[in-house]
């Protein structure tokens, strides 16, 4: 049976071959498995990224300050286009662009994989363009600022990649941004998703979550009043920059915040660097006479002086060992003045003497309580502390200069906070900008709570006396007459500070900050307005003092806003 032997030998060989194949499978599936699993992951996974819609920024009456809308961009992939002329002609019929321009874009593109043809294309155009080989449609979001310059420093702006770079856009970037949706799936050879389940339950997946909306305390109308009035004066006086802030006196809610020069957030790329800075929180300056009511309040609160006490103002020339010479503005020569008259006439010597009576410890502590020397935590990026020098560095000059606003630097928002405290019966106030945060369904997920730091900085009698008697007197009888209103009793204080020379050798002769802080109505203050105009052009001969340059602006802003808010007439 020779053939049986041969058959058995052949079968043995065949079985050996099969066993070898089994070994090969074991090699591939045990030793090399992880290698092939990796290749699989690379080859067979697709992913889709969904960009979330950035949240809106609204004013307190739900007017849109910033919003994102979806835009479709038609693009070409030049390397895949064999006949640019034909493609251009076809596309020219779809989008209203001349064919030769499209052709030029395609042929002269530096990037062989992508060239933008038309942004903001319509749905029909996109559908038609998709059918042409070599063209594609990209979907994205575009940030719009419908109010343009109006609230540019508060709202801020975003960069090309959609990240917030300044203002609320930066401060609340995380909330506004939402969460990018990511969908990792297994794909077939044409990269179509195979199925959501059972493969889709993958921890690499993120659900898309659009950004939340932010409602500001800002009122676009009030902002418009403030900006228009300030801009007019800023231009008339050829000033370098200007600030106006309108706050709700009792709560510290910011209704308007203007910093000039400002910028157009829709074209932020064209803006000059200098215009991007929010001067109301980033620039510190010596407040000058604006600080006098605050110093006086601290002194009366500490019983260092009484309201009726007469203080001899040295006939305009006060000198002594350790503090040099102090004169009056405009070379006035005052004799005995009460605290009210000192404020109305803005006497430096009177304030210096009050400071000496008060002592540096109490003055320092009082200023700290009013919020100077530290950020107000308004909620905008770039806020600075200002400079309240530490007590051990105070000397005889300090205690006689700080009471009338020298040797101390403040920000505009700090001043607003301090005067809000006076207007709020001496109770602490913290300025804020965020009214509420709402999710995509309109549900409020965070609302402004009443400030936790409630407490009296000065007694109500002291605060009310300063507002109703002293500061109302400034407007009625003193330097702030230009802020008077027919319907409401305004209170305020002027400030005309010389700017320190940049080389640090004293004060400049013709560079001033003209400021006016005002509020109304005095009986029950609703609003605090601060206007500061920096470096009005003295050579124009129109004036440069707070009473001349800033007070009329503050008055008009107050008048329009009180009318708008329908505050009852008090006169």
């Amino acid at each position: 049976m020779k053939h049986l032997k041969i058959i058995i030998i052949l079968f043995a060989l065949l079985l050996a071959a099969l066993l070898t194949l089994m070994g090969r499978c074991f090699y591939l599936q045990f030793f090399k498995s992880s290698h092939y699993v990796q290749i699989c992951a690379r080859q067979q996974q697709g992913r889709i990224i969904h960009q979330p819609q950035r949240g809106v920024i609204l004013d307190c009456r739900a007017r849109v300050l910033a919003a994102s809308s979806r835009i479709q961009t038609i693009f070409a992939e030049p390397r895949t286009i064999k006949d640019p002329i034909e493609v251009s002609n076809k596309l020219a019929d779809i989008v209203d662009l001349p064919a030769h321009k499209i052709c030029k874009l395609i042929t002269e593109s530096r990037n062989p994989g992508f060239v933008k043809i038309k942004t903001n294309a319509e749905v029909e155009q996109c559908r038609a363009a998709r059918k042409i080989y070599g063209l594609g449609v990209q979907s994205g979001w575009k940030r719009y600022y419908p109010m343009a310059n109006l609230a540019s420093h508060v709202v801020g702006f975003t960069g090309l990649d959609g990240d917030g770079l300044d203002g609320i856009e930066l401060q609340y970037d995380k909330n506004l941004k939402g969460r990018t949706g990511k969908n990792v799936f297994l794909a077939d050879a044409a990269r179509r998703p195979i199925s959501d389940s059972p493969f889709g339950s993958n921890n690499e997946n993120y659900q898309l979550r659009d950004g939340v909306g932010i409602i500001l305390t800002l009122d676009a109308t009030v902002q418009q009043f403030a900006r228009a009035e300030l801009l007019k004066q800023y231009q008339d006086f050829g000033a370098e920059s200007a600030i106006a802030i309108v706050a709700s006196a009792k709560t510290g809610a910011i209704l308007a915040l203007v910093s000039l020069p400002d910028f157009e957030p829709n074209k932020v790329g064209l803006a000059q660097m200098d215009t991007l800075r929010n001067r109301a929180i980033s620039d510190e300056f010596e407040p000058g006479s604006l600080l006098k009511p605050i110093s006086a309040a601290i002194a009366i609160e500490a019983n260092a002086v009484s309201k009726d006490e007469k203080i001899f103002c040295e006939n305009g020339n006060y000198r002594g060992k350790g503090f040099g010479r102090i004169g009056e503005y405009g070379d006035h020569k005052f004799g005995d003045l009460g605290v009210r008259e000192i404020l109305i006439n803005s006497s430096n010597i009177g304030m210096a003497k009050i400071g000496q009576k008060l002592g540096k410890n109490k003055l320092y502590n009082g200023l700290e309580l009013f919020g100077f020397g530290k950020k107000t935590m308004l909620g905008l990026p770039g806020e600075v502390d200002g400079k309240l020098r530490p007590l051990k560095k105070w000397d005889g000059y300090s205690i006689t200069r700080v009471p009338f606003g020298q040797e101390i630097s403040v920000t505009a928002i700090q001043l607003v906070k301090a005067f809000c405290i006076l207007a709020n019966d001496g109770k602490s106030v913290r300025p804020f900008l965020i009214e509420a945060i709402v999710d995509n369904n309109g549900q409020i997920i965070m609302q402004k709570k009443s400030p936790s730091d409630v407490g009296f900085v000065v007694k109500p009698e002291v605060a009310n006396w300063l507002v109703r008697e002293a500061m109302a007197g400034v407007v009625n009888e003193g330097t702030g007459k230009k802020a008077q209103l027919k319907k409401w009793q305004v209170f305020g204080k002027t400030g005309t500070a010389q700017l320190a020379k940049s080389d640090g050798t004293g004060y400049s002769e013709n560079e001033y900050v003209a400021s006016f802080v005002a509020g109304a109505p005095a009986e029950n203050p609703q609003l605090i307005v601060l206007v500061s105009i920096f470096k009005p052009d003295v050579s124009l001969g129109k004036g440069y003092t707070g009473g001349t340059v800033a007070a009329p602006v503050a008055g008009k802003i107050l008048e329009k806003t009180l009318n708008y808010l329908e505050v009852e007439s008090s006169l």
């Binding site: 058959i7 052949l10 079985l15 071959a17 194949l21 089994m22 090969r24 599936q29 080859q43 195979i194």
Partner: protein, 386 residues
């Protein structure tokens, strides 16, 4: 004549084959999905994976009918021209010739291998080379049994037999080099079994190689496949793509597989997933243990085949059984070798498992003949004791 029922050997063969065919139906169905796929039962015949479900019971039926048909009828005991084997071989040759005529043959994947016969709404595709393979095996078994030791006569016996085989292989070689080479290889093995002198067998080999080389030179596609086999990484994106994807499918399956129906490679990543590379899909979804089980089933089939051959008393039966089993298991080894990239890519289906009606039905018929041979052999002592 004993029936299948009371012969455990025949029963076991049928069982192994039916398990393999059932696995085939499941995996052809699994591999047949695609993303945009929707079943349209009114056109089910156009979907290979649905068609396969119909072929399965049909194959079982054909296997049973063939097993009832006495295999001795295929022998040439009563003369060359009274045996059906001769006529089947002639029919194969004619069909092969018809396929080559452009009007009748249908090109699929640049090869003319199919006859399409429209019957009403559906079209039956028929692959004559499959029939040719079986008819050559039957012919060689019959003729070698008939001429006995005369096979040693070189000019009078060996050369004419080689001539017949050469004609059949020659008709296939231009369109389907793989099947032609496989037929030649099987013929070579069967002649050795029949007792041909070894140096006789060597003489036609130069002609075979010359023919293969000529075909290869005329077809750059085939040359590239060889090159891709020798250097798989370099050709991973083009010619070696299939082999590379097959390795990814098998390798990513790991020991336990991704789970039945959960393979990914079948979604267009691995072409020919229902036919030539069905093994890769099984290995991907069931892992090493699934792949090994398929190989073990073929090993069991081979061992059962050996038992049939050993027990069979007739030389013709032994030759025929050996040819059938060698053909089936050899083809399985070839297919798995291609899937695991141990052999260059060749379109050879995995018997019983791959999609394809002609192959499945004809293989089932051949197994039916094998079962008939098994059922006619005397029972062993062990079975007698039972």
């Amino acid at each position: 004549m004993n029936s299948i029922k009371d012969n455990s050997l025949a029963r076991n063969i049928a069982m192994v084959v039916i398990i393999l065919m059932a696995v085939g139906v499941v995996f052809v169905f699994s591999a047949g999905v695609s993303v945009e796929q929707e079943f349209d039962l009114s056109r089910f015949y156009e979907f290979p994976h649905l068609r396969q479900m119909m072929f399965f019971p049909l194959a079982g039926l054909i296997m049973y009918i063939a097993s009832c048909f006495n295999y001795r009828k295929f022998s040439m005991d009563s003369g060359l021209f009274k045996s059906p084997t001769t006529y089947i071989l002639a029919l194969s040759a004619i069909l092969l010739a018809i396929v080559l005529v452009p009007r009748f043959g249908t090109e699929i994947n640049y090869a003319r291998r199919w006859l399409r016969i429209p019957i009403g709404a559906i079209t039956i595709s028929f692959q004559p080379s499959e029939l040719a393979k079986w008819s050559v095996i039957f012919f060689l078994a019959a003729i070698c049994d008939r001429i006995g030791s005369d096979i040693k006569l070189y000019w009078k016996r060996f050369v004419p037999i080689c001539g017949v085989v050469a004609v059949v292989a020659g008709l296939i070689i231009t369109e389907d080099l793989g099947t032609a080479a496989f037929i030649l290889f099987l013929s070579f093995l069967m002649l050795i079994i029949a007792g041909v002198k070894f140096w006789h067998v060597l003489t036609p080999l130069p002609f075979c190689f010359a023919a293969a080389a000529a075909v290869l030179i005329h077809s750059p596609n085939r040359m590239r496949r060889i090159a891709a086999f020798l250097n798989p990484e370099k050709w991973a994106d083009s010619t070696g793509y299939q082999a590379n994807q097959s390795l990814i499918a098998i390798g990513s399956g790991g020991l336990f597989g991704k789970g039945l129906g959960r393979g990914i490679c079948k979604y267009g990543h691995l072409p020919e997933d229902t036919t030539d590379f069905i093994f890769s899909i099984i290995a991907e979804e069931l892992g090493f243990f699934g792949a090994a089980a398929i190989i073990v089933l073929f090993i069991i089939f081979a061992l059962l085949g050996i038992m049939v051959i050993v027990r069979c008393k007739s030389r013709f039966g032994q030759f025929l059984a050996a040819g059938i089993v060698l053909s089936i298991v050899g083809q399985a080894a070839l297919n798995i070798g291609v899937a695991t990239a141990m052999l260059p890519t060749k379109g050879v289906p995995l018997p019983f498992v791959s999609a394809g009606g002609t192959s499945l039905l004809l293989t089932a018929a051949a197994v039916g003949v094998l079962i008939n041979i098994a059922s006619q052999s005397p029972k062993t002592q062990i079975e007698d004791e039972q």
